[in-house]
Symmetry: C2
Subunit: 197 residues, 2 copies
């Protein structure tokens, strides 16, 4: 690893940190690359070198969030199966207490459905990784007889991710009418032959 490469990595991380602060204060439409550059102590041209668009920068914010979520909720060390599903419920509880990042995720996910969008590749990867992670748990539960025999692990995994995404948008719009964590828990429990908690 060269010194220049390391410096670039650090600068990139500083920019993402500044972007998170600006987004928190100004929201999706209020955030601008100019404000992020100012906060990070870098020129606008310098910022563009690392992130050619606001959307590319916001995808990097979500990428860092995924890494932080994995650390905090121990997603990389949890055993596939009930343990992992409980950690995913823990993540949903964290999200409900942090609506700002959920708001960013929901907005960028909708923007990024088109292949040409700067965050498109992030979401293609994110969905795949999320589905695989959950699939491994449902497969482990099927092996031990803890998954209902009529449940297909593939369908259950895809459905869990889609349900979480759909609940988030509906919860942000009508927070008093949507029990995000309770709905996810009830859905997971309905697939199992043993108590989730």
């Amino acid at each position: 690893m060269t010194g220049g490469y390391l410096k670039g990595r650090l600068r990139r991380e500083d920019i993402i940190t500044a972007a998170i602060a600006v987004y928190r204060e100004a929201g999706y439409h209020g955030s601008s690359l100019r404000e992020v550059a100012k906060r990070a102590g870098i020129t606008h041209a310098g910022l563009i070198y690392y992130f050619p668009s606001k959307e590319a920068l916001l995808a990097a914010v979500l990428e860092r969030r995924d890494a932080e979520d994995a650390d905090r909720e121990q997603l990389n060390v949890a055993a596939p199966g009930l343990d992992m599903l409980r950690h995913l419920i823990g993540l949903a509880e964290y999200n409900v207490a942090h609506p700002g990042i959920v708001d960013l995720y929901v907005r960028l996910a909708a923007e990024a459905v088109s292949p040409g969008h700067p965050a498109h590749e992030y979401f293609v990867r994110h969905y795949r990784v999320a589905r695989e992670e959950v699939l491994a748990s449902f497969q482990a539960l099927a092996d031990t007889g803890e998954l209902r025999p009529d449940v297909d692990p593939q369908v259950a995994a895809l459905t869990f991710i889609a349900l979480e995404d759909g609940l988030q948008a509906q919860w942000l719009t009508t927070p008093d009418e949507v029990d995000l964590v309770g709905s996810l828990r009830t859905y997971l429990q309905s697939l199992l032959t043993v108590p989730l908690s």
Copy 2:
């Protein structure tokens, strides 16, 4: 009903029709009120009188879509219960064949999570109506023993709507990896004690 009122209603409908055509050709970001005004044969100021923003106009497009969906899929005449659920699967099949309107729905739903957004009220209403419609069906199924006894109709209704929304975004992003209709059908079947079809 006065002649002026009727004329206003017709003019409003013409504008929505023009907006649908422009959206179909230019997409979410390419569509402009100016282009819609031109297509509808009305001045820009005249258009603003009816729809103060692009987002308000797009909410009206979704409102007309809801009415058209209800007519085509006979949602207002289907009996609550299995019959209604089958019609909702029919609607999902129609949606898969018409990704353009799904794209508009997904994008505007994400934009409209904030209370200040011109389409916010539309989505609050849309979610409520959709949940009530599905709830009536699950309640009817519970009464006849066709719903699994451990399924709560309220949770099942909320989950169905959220699942459909989440599947739509994931399907638009990775169409080859998401079986939208199959996943919905499997989810519904898992709640029932009788065959869905």
